[in-house]
Each structure stands twice: as structure tokens, then as C-alpha cells.
Amino acid sequence: MFEILEKQALNQTVTRICVHAPLVARKAEPGQFVILRAKENSERIPLTIAEYDREQGNITLIFQVMGAGTLEIDSLGVGEHLQDLVGPLGKATETEGRKKVCVVGGGVGCAIALPIAKKLHEQGAVVHSVIGFRNQALVILEDAFRAISDELRVMTDDGSHGEKGLVTTALETLINAGNQYDEVITIGPLIMMKFVCLVTKKYGIKTVVSMNPIMIDGTGMCGGCRLTVGGEIKFACVDGPDFDGHQVDFDEALRRGEMYREFEQHERETACKLFDREVR
């Protein structure tokens, strides 16, 4: 059992929790994830580690409440315990030797991008960050990004905060302004990462994407998280979650991500109804 020490709503759908998980905190590196279950019969949910404190033995997770599983995690308060939490899983993001990097985050993906940007910054790399959201109400972690970025662009789809437009627009502007990046690291919705990769491919800039497919065990056993990368089957949990974005078959990943959409909608509605009843 893993105690929730802190909990905070970052916006209307995104929650941040700090959990006591000393074994995970001891080994965690940016880019790695955990799998957790809120309760005895909950679904196993993969979530990327947003922060870790090795001395206190704590990790921070930031997640969007999307399906029944995340709703269950969100229903737990400070002092309550998660049933299971295992990790750190996946390979850490490679940051060694990078001199100038553009980190592009979208929505809740910014929570995963932040520790990577932070590590690059601490290693002395020049970090440019582009973070995008649908609107002002959904903006998260802006100050945290500002603190570690040499340049920060905040984008919203409707222009209610920062600049109006997509992250790809800002990225292309930065590239055209003469910035020479060793690498672009992008984390966010699949469709966003796909378009970021199309831009960087045009300019021949190496691009790393962090994939978050459907997953059960997280140790390579189920094969549910398989992706086609460079024409080969790869497992996001043991071979990733980071991959060369120019090699990833995004269209296939997008299709596979929809596999259980109907079921999830139904589950979420059921869970919401139950929740409503409890509240009343």
C-alpha cells in the first residue's frame, strides 16, 4: 500500500499527487513510469513519474482524469493509500551530451516533459520549451517550465493565454529563427507528436517521442503496448517509452489507442453515476 501525501488539482481535469514509494523514488529517472491500481479491483494504469525525491522516498504523479481508472485514483485523498504501485518502468530518457534541445509538451504531457527539461537544464544544456494547451483554464506547470527554460513559448488553441496557435507553429518559428537543436523531445497527444515529427523531419532534426500506449503488466509480458518502429515490432514498456519519432508508425498507434474506446466510455459513465450517487 502506498500513501498519498499530497494532492492538488492543477486544473479542472488534471491532478497532482505525491506518493510515498521509497523503492521507486530511489531508482526513478526522467522518462520512466509506474503502473498503479487505486483499489483491489481497479484497472492497472501506467503513469509517468513527474518528480521524485530520493531522500524523502516520494514520487509525484500528474494525471488527467480520463477513464474509470484515473477517476478512482482521483477519488482517493491525502492519507489514503493506493493499492499497488510498481516501477520505475521503461527506459530513462537519454539526456547525456545534449547541448541544445527543444522540449515540446502538450496538455498533461507537459508533466512528463518537465522532469526531462529540468534534467537537461541541470546538465547545462540550453533548453527551449514549447508548451501547448486547448485554453487558459487547462494551462499547467507554466512557472515550473519558465524556471528551467532559456526560452519558453506558451501556446493555446484559442489564444486565451500565451500565443494563439499550435505547438508546431511555435517550434517552426524557433527553428526558422536560426536555433540549431541537437534534438527535439516531444510528449503529448499522439496526434500532436505526429505533427511535431513531420515538422522536424522537414528540417532533419532528430526527434524523440514518449509513447503511452495501452499496457497491462509493463514488464514486456503482455505485448499489448506494441508499436511499429522502423518496420519492427517494439514494446513501449521494455524498449521504450522513448522512440525515434521519425520511425514510429503514428497512424497505427492512433488506431490501436482506440481499441477500447467504447468500453472506456461506458465504464466512465458508470463510474460517474456511482460517484454522483455517493455524493448525493
Binding site: 521507486v24 518502468l89 503488466d217 521494455v238
Partner: protein, 468 residues
């Protein structure tokens, strides 16, 4: 003097009728009654050579326990079993007895072999229901600590044997539940999870400490375990990564690895209406492969309501690697066997959902290096199966996490951990390994045998330290 039963046929075991069991996940075989068990036990001749004992990977005194059953002393029979196996209720259900003990039984020469597996199962079940809970006394601790990686058949056996010898044993398990393939792979209708839980509870009562949610190779490394004060490590992390065929269409929606399909159903209980884990509700399913895992997946699909379920296997019916009983049960349940058939492509619609599988007919050619006749393509024999789900059950390759994070641990070209072949000692001192991580996908009982041998070797090595 025991009355011998010279009936040439094995006493039949009652089962749920096929048309009933297709609609539930309850156990198929119902087990012997006491009267049936005694009658079957009397078929054993208690012969001098005991070929069955030599053919048992864990060396159970088979005539010994059967003799007790024949005398009606089931508690005594259980006592004999428990000398050699920590999981008799499991082995009685899932061992490929026809290739082991029953395959060499003298009674098999003129008639059926003694139903050894059925008797083992009976004794374990009887003991669970009626036996005196002579909770084995916790042995005095010898002050030595051993870590076991993986709470599957090999790890649990190794842990149990060491705990009985007085070692403090901690088992690290990656999933949220102990049992390994016994809980994520083998379905409820073949091995009820309550039985697995009870056998594991027995180990916990013996003093074995099981830590779930720890992935060795990620959360802790093998080196960490030694730093933590363990004097030996047994790696029984299992087979792991599912293999795919490398044909077009394997990433379409509706294509599962058998591991994923079975894990959703067994570990996550997707068949239960209250489960939060989704599973596709299929109409027509093709399972590729011919082993026990393929049979399990096919029979699960049937129980989830699929009207038509095919087994697609490259060789013939005689070459199916699955246990005979599983094949028979699958046939009774209406699973259609398309043997001597090999998939060419999984076809899908414009939204990426599976619509069918293109296959070709094979014929058996000359024996290959393994001695098995290898399948050869019959030209112009293509055929099409209209299915909405494809489950791939063609085996697994070892999990890379431990070999990637353990310096000095030798592995072969397949990625299997290399051992001395005798007692599981690896290229690293004090590190032993056994089960599928060494052999590639094999059976529960072979993994248990490996765990047992490693436990003996670890005990020899560590107790030699005391004398030195």
C-alpha cells in the same frame, strides 16, 4: 493386503458437460470421489522398478502415495506428496502426465496407465477439504537469507524448499499478485485461483515473505539484492515477451498475444461483469499455435461467447504439443482444429479492425534438427478464415530486464539465462536460475523441478560456508 483392480481402463473423471461449461468459467473436471479414487489407486501394481518416479521432474514417491490412497488413508497419501511437491493440487491439474509418470506406467502397456495425475489432484483436494490442517511447524531459522525473483512455479517451489530448511526467503514478484503463470495464464476453468491462493498461503504460513509490485531489473537489481544481505539469489522470472509471426496485419485492432488475452481474462478477470478490464467480445476467433496456451485462449474465447473458434496449427493433430486432455476438452467444446495450416496475413477493414486471416495449407516433410517433421507449404492451397479476433500463441522469448541489468550473467543467443545444467547455477556466483527464463517456454512441473534442484544446491553451497 491390497486388492488389485485389473480393469484395463482408467477410471473416468466426471466433468461438466461440454454444452454447459462453454457458458461458464468454472472448473471443467470435477475430480474423483473417494470411492473412484480408491478403485483407481488399486490399479497400481506397486511394481518394483517404479518407472513413474524417475519420470517425475520432482521425484514424487508415486507408488507410495497411491498405496496410501488404495488403503483409504488420504491424509497419509498427502503426507507422501508433500515430501516432494509444494503444489500438488496444481500439478495434478496441469502436468503433462502422459509424457511423464503416466507415459512410462507399466499398466499402460496393455491398457490405460494408472490415472496418476487424477489421483494426485484428488489427494490434494481431499486434504484441502477434509485434511487436518497440520500447519507445518515453522522450521527453526538458520539465519541465512535468500532472495527469489518471480512468484511463479519455479520461484515458489525454490522458496518453499528453502524455507523448510530454515532459510529466510523473500520472493519478489512484478505483478500485484503472486502465482505467475498460474494466475495470469492458466484459466480458472482449468486451475481455480482459490486453489493457487491456498497453496501460496501455505508457503506464507511456512514463513516465506512475498513482496509484490517489485520488478527485479528495474525496482531492484540483482546486485542490490546482495547488498541488502541476501546470500543467494534464485531467478525464476519466466518466459516473458510474446512472439509475433512477423506477417502483415499483426498490429490491427483485434490481434492479441495469448499473454495479453489470458492476462486480461485471468489476472484482471475481464470475464467478470464487474471487472474494469476490457476484453473484445468476439464472434469468430482464430488462435494461432498448438500448445496448452493456445488451447486455453481458444476455450476462453468460446466461454466469452464466440460462436466459432479455430485453432490454426502448422503441424498435424498428432504433433499438437498441448496435453491430450486439453485437446479433447477443446474438441468437445466445439473448437475447430485447422491443422497443417499456416497464417500468411491478418486482414482488416478501413478502421483497422480485424476482418479475417489468410492462411495456406501445409504438409509434413522430412524431420528437422529437432526430430520433428517440419511443415512444408502446399502450393496453391491458400484459404481464408473470416474472423474478428486473432490470438497469437506461438511462444515467448525471455524477459530482457534482468540480463540487461545484471553484469556477468551469461545468456544464450535466444536470451535465455545459461546455467550449469545440473542445479541452475549461472555464470555469477550465488546466482541460480530455473524455469522458463532458462529453458524458454516449457511446463509448470519442469519449472518446479528446476526450483527444487536450485534450492538443494543453494542449501549445499550456503551450509558449506558454515563448515568452512
Amino acid at each position: 493386503m491390497i486388492k488389485r483392480n485389473m480393469e484395463p481402463r482408467v477410471t473416468a473423471m466426471p466433468t461438466q458437460p461440454a454444452e454447459v461449461r462453454c457458458g461458464n468459467f468454472e472448473e471443467v473436471a470435477l475430480g474423483y470421489t473417494l470411492e473412484m479414487a480408491v478403485r483407481e489407486a488399486q490399479r497400481c501394481l506397486n511394481c518394483k522398478h517404479k518407472p513413474c518416479v524417475a519420470a517425475c521432474p520432482v521425484g514424487i514417491d508415486i507408488p507410495g502415495f497411491i498405496e496410501k490412497v488404495a488403503q483409504g488413508d488420504i491424509q497419509g497419501a498427502y503426507h507422501v506428496l508433500s515430501q516432494s511437491t509444494a503444489l500438488p493440487a496444481v500439478c495434478g491439474r496441469v502436468c503433462p502426465q502422459e509424457n511423464q509418470c503416466e507415459g512410462v506406467c507399466v499398466r499402460g502397456i496393455k491398457g490405460d496407465s494408472v490415472g496418476i495425475g487424477r489421483l494426485e489432484r484428488f489427494v490434494a483436494d481431499w486434504h484441502r477439504e477434509h485434511g487436518t490442517r497440520d500447519v507445518m511447524e515453522k522450521p527453526a531459522l538458520n539465519g541465512r537469507r535468500v532472495a527469489v525473483v518471480g512468484a511463479g512455479p519455479s520461484g515458489l517451489t525454490c522458496a518453499g524448499d528453502l524455507a523448510r530448511k530454515g532459510y529466510s526467503v523473500t520472493v519478489y514478484e512484478a505483478l500485484h499478485m503472486a502465482g505467475g503463470v498460474l494466475v495470469y495464464g492458466i484459466p480458472e476453468f482449468r486451475l481455480p485461483k482459490a486453489i493457487v491462493k491456498q497453496e501460496i498461503d501455505g508457503l506464507i504460513a511456512l514463513g516465506v515473505n512475498i513482496q509484490t509490485d517489485v520488478v527485479v531489473g528495474r525496482t531492484l537489481s540483482v546486485d542490490d539484492l546482495f547488498e541488502m544481505g541476501y546470500e543467494a539469489v534464485f531467478i525464476g522470472s519466466g518466459a516473458g515477451l510474446p512472439r509475433f509471426m512477423g506477417i502483415p496485419g499483426e498490429s490491427l485492432k483485434g490481434v492479441y498475444s495469448a499473454n495479453e488475452y489470458l492476462t486480461r481474462i485471468n489476472l484482471m478477470k475481464a470475464y467478470d461483469q464487474t471487472s474494469r478490464t476490457p476484453i473484445q467480445r468476439s464472434h469468430s476467433v482464430a488462435v494461432v499455435g498448438g500448445g496448452n496456451v493456445a488451447m486455453d485462449a481458444a476455450r476462453c474465447a468460446k466461454r466469452l461467447g464466440a460462436e466459432r473458434v479455430y485453432i490454426v496449427y502448422r503441424r498435424g493433430m498428432e504433433q499438437l504439443p498441448a496435453r491430450h486432455e486439453e485437446v479433447e476438452h477443446a474438441q468437445e467444446e466445439g473448437i475447430v482444429f485447422r491443422t497443417l495450416a499456416s497464417p500468411l496475413e491478418v486482414m482488416g477493414d478501413e478502421n483497422g479492425w480485424v476482418t479475417g486471416m489468410r492462411c495456406q495449407q501445409m504438409t509434413l516433410g522430412e524431420p528437422d534438427a529437432s526430430g520433428r517433421r517440419s511443415p512444408v507449404v502446399m502450393e496453391g492451397s491458400e484459404f481464408y478464415l473470416a474472423v474478428d479476433t486473432v490470438i497469437i500463441a506461438i511462444g515467448t522469448s525471455p524477459n530482457p530486464l534482468i540480463r540487461q541489468t545484471t553484469a556477468g550473467l551469461e545468456t544464450d543467443r535466444h536470451g535465455c539465462i545459461v546455467t550449469n545444467g545440473i542445479d541452475g547455477l549461472t555464470s555469477r556466483p550465488q546466482v541460480y536460475a530455473g524455469g522458463d527464463v532458462v529453458t524458454g517456454a516449457a511446463t509448470v512441473i519442469l519449472a518446479m523441478g528446476a526450483g527444487k534442484q536450485a534450492a538443494e544446491a543453494i542449501d549445499r553451497e550456503l551450509s558449506a560456508k558454515d563448515k568452512a
